[in-house]
Subunit: 215 residues, 2 copies
Amino acid sequence: MAEATKAPARSGATRDPERTRARVLAAARKAFARNGLAGARVDAIAEASGANKRMIYYYFTDKEGLFLAVLEEIYAELCAASDALDLIAPPEKALTRYIDFIWTYYLNNPETVTILNSENLHGGRHLRRSGKMRQLEKPFVDKLTGLIERGVAAGVFRPGLDAVTVHITVVALAYFFLANNTTLSIFFDQDLSSPSAQRAWRRHIHESVRAILLA
Amino acid sequence: MAEATKAPARSGATRDPERTRARVLAAARKAFARNGLAGARVDAIAEASGANKRMIYYYFTDKEGLFLAVLEEIYAELCAASDALDLIAPPEKALTRYIDFIWTYYLNNPETVTILNSENLHGGRHLRRSGKMRQLEKPFVDKLTGLIERGVAAGVFRPGLDAVTVHITVVALAYFFLANNTTLSIFFDQDLSSPSAQRAWRRHIHESVRAILLA
DNA sequence: GCAATTTGTAACTATTTAGTTAGTTAATGG
DNA sequence: CCATTAACTAACTAAATAGTTACAAATTGC
């Protein structure tokens, strides 16, 4: 709502802070995803985004502020995608849709995976400071809780499993396979990055979560 | 075999390359686990280990060589612990023992977790170069394959699941929960690092893997 | 016991890095 | 239409960083 009044979206404008900010964030996301917080270079981000380095400090205070802004953007995207997920369907069908959503999301957003790993390396110290993080995930947990309750009521799912536990289980199976794909491929001497290996694992997640959840 | 003849283990010796190397590796492991490859400082590792910085380059060529040496040490420890695991027991009991081993290992070796994450961030480029990695994991996979086959033959486990798939499943559930504990705690607004949360998750892994594997 | 080699040290360097200074150009509001 | 503010730039700096140079002392092989 504030966008239209504050930034009148001039096309080809010589100055467009909104776009500059967005371009810096996009370049920063790539850089942090590839090299981590310490490995990413502010000079490189400035050059890649076409912004002057001074503007990065103008908008984001310092490197850690930029990293936090990237984290917040990533998190907002994840929540927006989660909110768009429709789980109003018969329990088994909704479960399938939910699992596919998680798998597809992390498969298509590898930067999210590596940046979240980086934040964990640093003990979550950026997210913890952020004001924007509180309870954005709650509507999604409520939606999943609703699905599980409907499934239990219908006698399809077994009782005793809460939404957060189920969710961490599904994310663990998807995220770990993708985040640690290279070391797993080396250790077990097989290419787990191939489309066929990915299909097989996606199928395995479906079967496993069904085995865990079905009555 | 070479140790006894080459390094006669003099206690309190003024020079002891074996110990210097070991101390550098220990300090490097801590530094890489805390700050990642780019974030770790060679000067800090030298100071923490009591070794002169020049010796680090003398033994490990460069920072990446040191990182690789840490990776190889971590991997060798993991394989040694895996080899010591006894799975000769009735299938269900052996399965419980195996799951406990994986959970406990990653719980007690958080540095292994973060360093493996770092190696994945860098696309496995250090491990891939290493000559020491090939097939060290094989005896363990064979042992697990044996367990699964015995379970299937006894009608306790369902057929169609290979050892690597089962193993990645168990490690995913343990490793992901531990590696991403802080962001998960923030996102879902609950302390997943507490002993009770850890006990609950360990129990959940047991129940889930049993659900996946039991006939 | 001495020449060669291994292990160790202190001080140095060339670059890179995050972060600044000091200013210019464009938009905006009265 | 001008004063004020927001957006932007180029060049700079102080500190940190990976990697070296040039030696010295201990150990080992002969």
